[in-house]
Symmetry: C2
Subunit: 268 residues, 2 copies
């Protein structure tokens, strides 16, 4: 299992996806994936730098981190790179006033922004807020804009919760893109600028960083596009058919985060 | 206005879209477009053949025709080509057992079909049935199939109701296509086989038929692909920007169905 891991000897930092790597999310708050909390502690004890890079948009970063701490993870808000704060910066820079179609618990991330007379739509994983009425409202606002601007917090296809697979924000993004004949701007993985922000927070150049995630396209493909190595875990939304993906091949597969950390630490 | 209509002299039959041409739909049952009921009567009196070709899937063909008769239109069930009966034939031919994500009022069109252990998903304009829960259910069934089969009753982007624009089935089709990495099979306009069925019922070859619709892609583009001439009315979902469509150009624009019939009958 350790043959072919020579490249891991120069690693100085790890970027970890959260959902499907640290824990499986769910309406009940979710459950940790076996060995993951201990793996995070081992990374920190090893002296490797650590940053979490998530597309989670069902909660503010503060509440999300609090939940993960409650599940036994030793992580802080500053260690999490998430789409909503990045989108907030982008909206401010461009003077955009958003209409939000997001989860109720995410709304406060955008508290500082003016939302009157919206000139763009921000789409997150709105979950139960993905109603027929809300989708029609977002659509009507977009189609009524002279130049529709749709900002999507990630473009995931689906994710796994404890009660089964759920459609992710990317599916709804595609619906609005098609209806309005626009292309969304994605803030979150796999956007290069988002990985670059996470690497800047990690403080390590891409060739000395490894991304570990369960999503073949958004984690593995996105990180590799930035010049990083990337591992796919066989937890979370991983499916055996991912191993035949026509375009993306991870640098290695691991059964879970604990195994990845075992192997990486053995190379150092 | 009549220059350049010489080709209309050989016309023997008309295919008419319904929503946005005969009437504007809405929760209140909808309202006829001025002059359209009279235009239908004039077509019939002229001896031209007439067939209605709709992507309507919010009601059975029987109930839809009854509603239109109530709005003053002299039409019968046999004069309407609609996606649900066509999909039903296709499902039977291929021995498919559908999971339906359609409007409640359409379900009875599929009464004859076995629906246990579904091996395909049939998507119509489900309107209020486009809930988060129903979309997740359809998604989970598809992603769980060895070879997912998604059949979409039309692929319209949006349509106009009396209270505003609504997302059409095509937007939800795109969401499921993306999430499951499949390509839907479209039964309805603009599919060539659907126009061919309508022409067969009209009993006129494509070069002697004219399609009249409000949808630049699904009505005009689809009919032209079949070798028909096609007019776009400036009613229903028509928007001025349609006149700059990068790929589709109607053979002529008309303000409404009544004007189209006026001009066509003058050529004969």
């Amino acid at each position: 299992a350790m043959a072919g891991w020579g490249w891991a000897r120069t690693v100085r930092g790890l970027l970890l996806d959260i959902s499907g790597v640290l824990y499986d999310s769910g309406a009940d708050g979710g459950v940790p994936i076996a060995g993951s909390a201990e793996a995070v502690r081992r990374i920190k004890a090893s002296g490797l730098k650590l940053q979490l890079c998530t597309n989670e948009t069902q909660a503010t970063r503060e509440n999300f981190v609090r939940k993960l701490q409650g599940l036994g993870f030793d992580i802080s808000v500053a260690e999490v790179t998430a789409p909503a704060p990045a989108a907030c910066r982008l909206l401010k820079e461009r003077g955009l006033t958003p209409h939000l179609l997001v989860h109720d618990d995410l709304v406060s991330e955008f508290a500082e922004l003016d939302k009157t007379n919206p000139n763009c739509v921000v789409l997150g994983d709105a979950a139960e807020n993905f109603t027929y009425a809300n989708l029609n409202e977002a659509f009507r606002l977009l189609i009524g804009m002279e130049k529709p601007v749709l900002i999507s917090l990630g473009k995931g296809r689906y994710y796994k919760e404890t009660d089964g697979l759920k459609l992710d924000v990317g599916a709804y993004m595609k619906a609005l893109e098609y209806a309005c004949d626009v292309q969304a701007e994605v803030v979150g993985k796999p956007a290069k600028s988002f990985f670059e922000s996470a690497l800047a927070e990690l403080g390590v150049p891409p060739e000395q960083a490894i991304m570990i995630g369960d999503d073949i396209v958004n984690d593995v493909g996105g990180a590799q596009q930035c010049g990083m190595r990337a591992l796919q875990v066989r937890t979370g939304k991983y499916r055996p058919s991912d191993e035949n993906h026509p375009k993306v091949k991870p640098d290695a597969y691991v059964n879970n985060l604990a195994e990845a950390v075992d192997i990486i630490l053995q190379q150092l």
